[in-house]
């Protein structure tokens, strides 16, 4: 087992960070990206989390759909003196990404406009939770095909189920290619028996749907499908490429979890799901999974603390204290606080061990401490990079 992501960020072309919400996944993704840039690789981080703090952490005035350069030149040089490679970042905006996707693959301007103006499309592109996964994949395609990045780091929407991310590229392509679309759209050329059956089934289905949704929505759906049908080939080609790139040996999935019980449960589900689909988990980051309790060894996870020599401590220290009301109580309280924190570290460790079970021996596992201050700037992010790459003391 390696306790560093160093190898991954030096060798891989794509690192996908998956994990439940609220574990600091986006910040970890940014740190993985910065680690790549520190290793001299031109890197882009694609995130889906509109957190302003992340923009701050990356030293950017704002983070939006546009890919921007992170001011890494403000950072001190790496230990070996090598320069930091360019790092870029963008926050994927679902509606904007859909719109630009349609622009790229629409055969002509009229189709492009027709789709953008369709209210069903507008609602789909803005409102659907599931489309986040799809759009993340789309941006990934663009980053991998149209730019010369050495490393792409993809932060994914919080999902208990890794399925969404892996299935996204193919599911829309399959949908557009399906019999269903034929139901609704008039076929081309002479009609055989099969076509007629499909057509009559389609008519029934259409009537039924109209009954439920009302005619207005149904009409919109049909025109949405008509417009979308012309994009079929474009979708299929892109989906196949993205799907293949997710399964390349140069792609790694990194699982991010915290050490609280419910996040760890969610993370265990994700791990299971990835394994079931034969997608290897290359690294697990247990973020904020212990509190540093020994100033001499801040990266050590202290889980037990002696708490039995109160009188000895008091005897040694009392002569040096003036005007402290109840030094014994104070000494007792502060030791109890640290001992409880150590016990909590122990509980975190049990949770981490539970999550670590069933991982491949080759999987890198890193426990990151809960930093005293939240990560607010590039130097702060660099501290997490040091932890991830095994450079922290």
């Amino acid at each position: 087992m390696s306790a560093s992501l160093d190898k991954l960020v030096r060798e891989q072309k794509l690192i996908v960070c998956v994990g439940p919400g609220g574990v600091g996944k986006t910040t970890v993704s940014a740190a993985v990206g910065l680690a790549g840039a520190r290793a001299g690789r031109k890197t882009v981080v694609l995130t889906i989390d509109p957190a302003r703090r992340l923009a701050d952490a990356l030293g950017l005035p704002g983070l939006d759909d546009e890919i921007r350069a992170v001011p890494v030149e403000t950072l001190p040089a790496a230990d070996d003196g090598s320069p930091t490679a360019p790092l870029h970042a963008a926050m994927v905006d679902t509606a904007a990404s859909y719109a630009s996707l349609i622009r790229r693959i629409a055969p002509d301007e009229a189709t492009h406009r027709r789709i953008l103006d369709n209210r069903v499309f507008q609602a789909v592109s803005k409102s659907l939770a599931r489309s986040h996964a799809y759009v993340a994949m789309e941006r990934l395609y663009d980053a991998m095909q149209n730019h010369d990045y050495d490393l792409v780091v993809l932060d994914t929407p919080p999902a208990r189920n890794a399925l969404d991310i892996l299935d996204a590229p193919m599911s829309l392509a399959n949908f557009l290619d399906s019999r269903f679309v034929e139901w609704f759209l008039p076929g081309e050329g002479p009609k055989g028996i099969r076509d007629r059956i499909i057509a009559s089934g389609g008519a029934v289905a259409k009537r039924m749907l109209g009954l439920i949704t009302g005619k207005k929505l149904l009409d919109e759906i049909v025109s949405f499908l008509e417009a979308f049908a012309s994009l079929r080939e474009g979708f299929a080609a892109r989906a196949t490429t993205v799907d293949a790139s997710l399964r390349e040996p140069s792609t790694s999935f990194v699982l991010v979890s915290s050490a609280n019980p419910s996040s760890a449960d969610d993370a265990a589900w994700l791990r299971h799901d990835l394994q079931r689909r034969k997608v290897p988990v290359s690294g697990v980051i247990y973020n904020q999974s212990f509190v540093s309790l020994d100033p001499a060894a801040p990266m050590q996870c202290v889980t037990t603390l002696r708490d039995d020599d109160l009188d000895a401590r008091l005897g040694q220290l009392e002569p040096h204290l003036q005007g402290v009301d109840d030094p014994k109580a104070l000494l007792r309280d502060i030791r109890a606080m640290r001992a409880e924190a150590a016990a909590e570290n122990g509980r975190f460790t049990a949770i981490v061990d539970g999550l670590a079970a069933e991982l491949e021996p080759s999987c890198a596992q890193i426990r990151a401490p809960r930093f005293r201050e939240e990560i607010r700037d590039l130097p702060g992010l660099l501290r997490l990079v040091d932890v991830l790459t095994g450079r922290a003391r």
Partner: protein, 317 residues
């Protein structure tokens, strides 16, 4: 705030939302356990295929039907796909056509991709559950505690009327949405509770969600649960004594006490930061704010869930 306005568990629907990782699932479970201990018949409904209640209650499988998960609580999970099929079966007059549509994988995908349909099917299910009666008369479930997936999801759910106004003509779906929207907007029937931790991002998101929904008339608020509020036994007045202690400990070479002091200072600072975030929450959100303590990172048993639930519900009185 009067008891009448805030006794959240008395409502038919308690909607719970909050950013991922704030411990919403635990608060939902705790409220349900507490409601059961009061003799109520709580049903937890999770939206999406998260099934977090499985691990909280230690049961194998939670599906589309209410399941007894122990401690007097029932739980179920409403997956959009299943809800849509259920809705189709209910609304399509010809069972044969309904079945063929239901069995059609392609259609299933369409409904998953279509705007609002999943949400509509979900509210249809919630309405059915709400209307269920006991053989002896009276409502089968109460309160129905709905664990909304994430804050964005909550918005979509509550704004459904506006979403479909643009795209949907008159029909059974529209009627259902209208009726449900009225039900969600009625403060006697429904309350939306927000869960946050006293940290910057969750507090900001809570303030933003409150701002977006406030005054729109789509839903009435219940409480804000400020979860995982850290407690420390020392107040700021102990700081000068800590300085002295650190100095003395260094002088006599007690590194362990130096470390104690350092940790105590950090814990006090974190406590102060959390209090500052709570103050920000209070300043910007005009709702009762119920503080729940930071608990050890371990699975909770029934007794501790009930205790947390009593704290949560008691804070509302």
């Amino acid at each position: 705030m009067s008891r009448e306005q805030t006794a959240v568990l008395q409502r038919r629907f308690v909607l719970m939302t909050g950013k991922g990782g704030v411990g919403k699932t635990t608060v939902v479970a705790a409220l349900a356990v507490h409601a059961a201990s009061l003799g109520m018949r709580p049903l937890v409904v999770e939206l999406g295929h998260r099934e977090s209640m499985r691990s909280v209650f230690g049961v194998d499988d939670i599906g589309f039907k209410p399941k007894d998960v122990g401690l007097g609580v029932h739980a179920m999970s409403v997956d959009v796909d299943v809800a849509v099929l259920d809705y189709m079966l209910e609304h399509i007059p010809s069972k044969r056509v309904a079945k063929s549509i239901v069995n059609n994988k392609v259609l299933e995908r369409l409904f998953a991709a279509m705007p609002a349909v999943g949400e509509i099917a979900t509210i249809n299910k919630l309405r059915q559950l709400e209307a269920e009666e006991l053989p002896s008369g009276g409502r089968r479930w109460g309160p129905i505690i709905v664990d909304l997936d994430a804050t964005g999801h909550a918005l979509m759910f509550l704004e459904l009327r506006n979403v479909i106004d643009n795209i949907m003509g008159a029909g059974p779906m529209k009627r259902l949405v209208e009726e449900t929207a009225d039900m969600l907007a009625n403060p006697e029937t429904t309350r939306l509770c927000l869960v946050a931790t006293p940290a910057e991002l969750p507090v900001t998101e809570t303030i933003e969600l409150y701002g977006k929904l406030q005054g729109r008339g789509t839903v009435s608020f219940g409480s804000v649960f400020a979860n995982r509020v850290p407690q420390v036994p020392l107040g700021a007045e102990a700081l000068p004594a800590l300085d002295q202690l650190e100095h003395a400990a260094k002088a006599v070479g007690r590194a362990d006490v130096v470390a104690d002091v350092a940790h105590a200072r950090i814990a006090m600072q974190q406590h102060a930061d959390a209090q500052a975030q709570l103050a920000r929450l209070r300043e910007n959100v005009d709702l009762p704010i119920v503080e729940l303590p930071l608990l050890p990172a371990a699975r909770m048993d029934g007794a501790s869930l009930g205790h947390l639930g009593a704290l949560a519900a008691g804070g509302e009185a």
